[in-house]
Symmetry: C2
């Protein structure tokens, strides 16, 4: 198939690189951060806000959308993009990770996973084919295969079982997808926990299949950062250059820095939006807790160097007040700012790679957001 | 003093009228509906949204702002308008009504009311002068006097006591305000429950004082609608034509129709915003409950005749989904629509008075929103 990824500039001192992802005509500059619209909206924002912020690739969660509003709704509305009036590109996970982390009960079977809804306890089953069908109804530009993400701390036996299952399902998914590939892409998911041998085996196995991209799962799931870095470093030299690499569920500013340094092109995480709702915002000087008493009389914006409309309009003192009294507007203003920050952060990172200053960029931001 | 109100067109078949309120250079067409920004934001919206919706007079609650963020913050920021980045006109209540309805305990004294905060039980006292001081710090264009709003069902003795207290405090407030009137206006509040004699006595007493406008309190506090209408009708012929009349805390579409019919110029109510958050929206065909199963696959906007950006962008099916899964975006989209509806409703009402069709307008909307 024709490639969806065009390599850009490579950093000389690391595996960092820029690139362009072409998803059905929508051009996405990488490395990119994707905000998460779990249930069909980026929490507290409108689709107009997403456009205004310049995001042209966002993520939605198949597990949540499968349960509510359900497949029939997406079939009727011809996909989530139409449903939510969003015109750009969309990536969906397979729903597997949410089954393991949210469902009240789940049980593996050879051909999939049975689970009970965390909402009403109802019984369901996901298979490699059924989650592709669901993602086809959602209409994402990038779909994910069903995988087995063993929890952090799993022993080697459990990790090997996860690998076998993940690889078998990836092959089934590929075959099922290829029956009728259409315009939607599918990425497989590398597993293996913090075991380097298994990680490399998984990467090698999955890269042999002609998927248009590759995802890395099971990281940033509780392991200490040195473990996280060690696994990224062990994989970096072996990542296929011609395909986009997506590190799932990551992350913090520092985790993204480590990811890009090790050749990752795509990231998604709820942290910038969730932290915003909890009153933590990101600035050019580091993180700020909006609820701090010290901001009570502050006339300054959240970040004097930020060009977002929230920083141009509102004071720290006002946004602190809204958070303290739990006004809904606190959530949307803070979320808007954090997503503007992430866009700007990624844009500056791409620029730093282009001008050969990724190491300087990395040092600067790691120092500010070290913890 | 120079009048803040210019009479417009009078309806020939009722007391309905149009007019223009001039608040420190901001021209407000009446009859007007004011959305409520209790704690310094219209819940779920931004100040940019308020501007975009075209509201140039909004209400904030002194009781809430006094408790949080407190007077010191408004003194520092030079008023709520600066604090929330809102440039148009502002009206504040005195805080009295919230003391009676929200405070965990309150006790009248000759010169004011002692109460305990509903947030932390802390002890406070409001006096006619102190609530004007607080409203001066908030910087509203229209301030309200402290009054005694006896609950619905109070006996005549209690209503008379409330009247005496309300009138005495109104006189004190006027004297205190006149020591240094500045650009902020003060309105007194007519009380008297559903007792016509007391209502007329209160109206007459307060209209004798040279306040720039007059407010009517203690209606829409639980009385059946016929009682509400009876009291409005008894006052209508006696309302001073040269001053704006403000009916506090009202209301529903039908209550506003009855108010305008009886000469009211200004209204405020949390219903359009609160109902929106609960999934009830207003349309050209009546009220809609967004959570209804029947909207699940609806491609139509909330109201095909509505010109608001929510109706131009999103389907009923999508907004229903957001409400069903309690996404924050559901609140802002629904609130935006309802406030657009209220603006449009009031604009059409003013037009109907101007062209001599208020009765037709009244019949049409009363029929649609009768309950």
């Amino acid at each position: 198939m024709s490639s969806i990824f065009k390599e850009g500039i490579y950093d000389t001192g690391s595996y960092a690189r820029t690139g362009t992802l072409d998803l059905n005509g929508i051009q996405i500059q990488t490395p990119i951060f994707m905000p998460v619209g779990t249930r069909g909206s980026i929490k507290s924002l409108t689709s107009e806000d997403i456009d205004e912020l310049g995001y042209n690739l966002i993520l939605a969660n198949t597990y949540h959308l499968y349960l509510k509003p359900g497949k029939e709704v997406f079939d009727h509305f011809q996909g989530l993009k139409n449903f939510m009036s969003y015109k750009k590109a969309l990536l969906t996970d397979s729903g597997g990770f949410q089954v393991f982390s949210l469902a009240s009960l789940f049980k593996f079977e050879d051909d999939g996973v049975r689970f009970q809804s965390h909402i009403d306890g109802s019984h369901h089953k996901f298979t490699p084919a059924s989650v592709i069908d669901m993602q086809r109804s959602i209409g994402s530009d990038i779909m994910m295969v069903l995988d087995d993400c063993a929890p952090y701390g799993s022993d080697t036996k459990r990790l090997e079982l996860a690998l076998d299952r993940t690889h078998r399902w990836a092959k089934e998914s590929f075959a099922y997808w290829m029956e009728n590939p259409g315009g939607q892409n599918v990425f497989p998911i590398v597993q293996g926990g913090v075991n380097e041998t298994l990680r490399l085996r998984s990467l090698e196995t999955l890269q042999k299949i002609d998927f248009p991209g590759i995802a890395i799962g099971g990281l940033s799931v509780g392991e200490p950062r040195p473990e996280y870095i060690r696994i990224l470093e062990c994989m970096a030299p072996h990542l296929d250059k011609s395909r986009p690499r997506y590190l799932m569920g990551v992350g913090t500013v520092v985790d993204i820095l480590e990811g890009v340094k090790n050749g990752i092109d795509m990231f998604d995480c709820v942290l910038p939006t969730r932290n915003a709702r909890n009153g933590q915002v990101f600035t050019s000087k580091g993180k700020i807790n909006l609820r701090n008493e010290s901001h009570r009389l502050s006339d300054s914006p959240i970040d004097p160097q930020c060009e977002c409309k929230v920083c141009k309009t509102y004071s720290l003192g006002y946004i602190r007040h809204l958070h303290k009294v739990k006004e809904l507007t606190a959530f949307s203003l803070s979320t808007y700012h954090n997503l503007f920050f992430m866009q700007s952060f990624m844009e500056k990172m791409r620029k730093s790679i282009e001008i050969g200053n990724f190491q300087g960029f990395y040092d600067h931001w790691k120092n500010l957001f070290g913890s």
